[in-house]
Amino acid sequence: MRETTTVPEDLRWESDGTSRIPFAAYTSAALHAKELERFFYTGHWCYVGLEAEIPNPGDFKRTAVGERSVVMARERDGSIRVVENVCAHRGMQFCRARHGNRAEFVCPYHQWTYALNGDLIGVPFKRGVRQDGRVNGGMPADFRNEDHALTKLRVATRGGVVFASFDALVEPLEDYIGPTVLRYFDRLFDGRALRILGYNRQRIPGNWKLMQENIKDPYHPGLLHTWFVTFGLWRADNRAELKMDARFRHAAMISTRGNAGKAGEVSAVSSFKDQMTLEDPRFLDIVPEDWWGGPTAVMTTLFPSVILQQQVNSVSTRHIQPRGHGAFDFVWTHFGFADDSPDMLQRRLRQANLFGPAGFVSADDGEVIELSQEGFEQKPFHRTLAELGGRDVADADHMVTETLIRGMYRYWREVMEA
């Protein structure tokens, strides 16, 4: 492993702006611990899953908020609870199955038992054990189950998406997302029943923020992703909008397909392949859907934990789970809608070949993130240059800008320097 001399004190910004991000923001273990505390464990809502993953009472799913393991479960009354996966007795991570159905949670070590909402409901030998007419041991007289529940997270759901927070004082989810981005959230999750299509899981050896940046970066798709530019799925001269919430932490990149194959300045790039055609065009058998309302792709970043993807007919959530400052696990949940026709289902599955850890398009992103981290580690005193479209932060009606990245770091500084 590479050493790094970076310590938080090393973090130096060249100005009050955020167009030049210090590499140390990606390489410092101490800063990472501070990020977990300020972005994942306090003041923010983190994605934990989709309601459709736990349709029935007793269904549960083990997942993570930041680097902390949590369990999301559906109560008998249909409500959803999220508890931390740490036993109140002696701290064991009691739930290891990743999904299933339970009436209650039992910790294997000493069988302390919890209701799905985290309440402690059973402690073996709590009042001792009778032996030869005498009662031995047991918990102290003042022991009260109520004092020893699992850590319960606040839960909010909208349109079938479940968020949780360790912070009891976190603002309401709708305020957190803000009206501008909420519009695009609701466009995708309008209350329709979802159908889970399956998962992809990858570990990307780069700082977790690089994935947020990647999806706030409309500069790269037309240059890095040959398929996008060649088939016009994403080009710098496509009609586009970039929108942020009031604090610039969340964003939506809205793009409308066009100019497929057409030459022009944006195709004067090496990644544009004039002659490229598919031997089997079914990969790109795209059929517009009413709910799109125009845009063919909307990529929504909800800071810090999730990306909502709509790329033509492929829809998914992408869950960011940090693993130290230099890596994160990236969990893709592909879904469709309960009323999809068989053709549309097959179409979504075929287009899934473009995304995920081996996707014709998305594999690129994981690779450039890994190599960005490599660059940061070898030069921790340096900084990036995110000045396309200027140095300010503002919504835009085109894709030739890195403003969303600057916006994310304006928010980052606001929170980390508080």
């Binding site: 399956g198 992809n200 040959t226 490229m276 031997e279 089997d280 990969f283 696990d329 690779e367």
Partner: protein, 156 residues
């Protein structure tokens, strides 16, 4: 099952492992029939009945499109891969169609790095005899590896 078929089946598997590790990607589609199935599937999706695959191809054309992608369109950090595959177990033969399975491990070596375990799992195959010899009509790669170490670019 006739001994010659048994030998040929073994050679098909061994030849496939050799081909996908050779760096000559054009060899890969030729192990399949024109209409074919190639699916790279997380064991989780397979066992829970989810239809999603990490990669799902339905024709030799799609395999060729993948080869083109590997060579021309997919940016990636280059690596060597090495397949070590167990002997195929023949599950059944239904009018000439061989249903066979084998465990595999794939190791990745990046430039100037150590070799690591990359992807492990099981091939579930359907093999048919063609004028050109045995070919895969269907190859499912059902992988245990819960986390893909960043990306899978080359054929498993």
């Amino acid at each position: 099952m006739d001994l010659r078929d048994y030998v040929d089946l073994g050679q098909l598997y061994a030849g496939y492992a050799r081909a996908v590790d050779s760096g000559d990607w054009d060899l890969w589609p030729e192990f399949f029939t024109d209409v074919c199935t190639y699916r790279l599937v997380p064991r989780e999706n397979h066992e829970r009945g989810f239809p999603l695959a990490t990669l799902s191809f339905e024709s030799k054309g799609m395999l060729r499109d993948r080869v083109y992608g590997i060579r021309e369109t997919l940016f990636h950090d280059p690596y060597y891969q090495r397949h070590v595959v167990g002997a195929p177990v023949v599950r059944q033969v239904v009018d000439g169609r061989i249903h066979s399975e084998a465990n595999y491990a794939v190791f990745r070596t990046k430039l100037s790095e150590l070799s690591t375990v990359f992807n492990v799992g099981r091939y579930v195959d359907e093999v048919v005899r063609t004028p050109a010899g045995l070919r895969f009509a269907s190859r499912l790669c059902i992988y245990d590896s819960e986390l893909i170490p960043n990306s899978i670019i080359y054929p498993i």
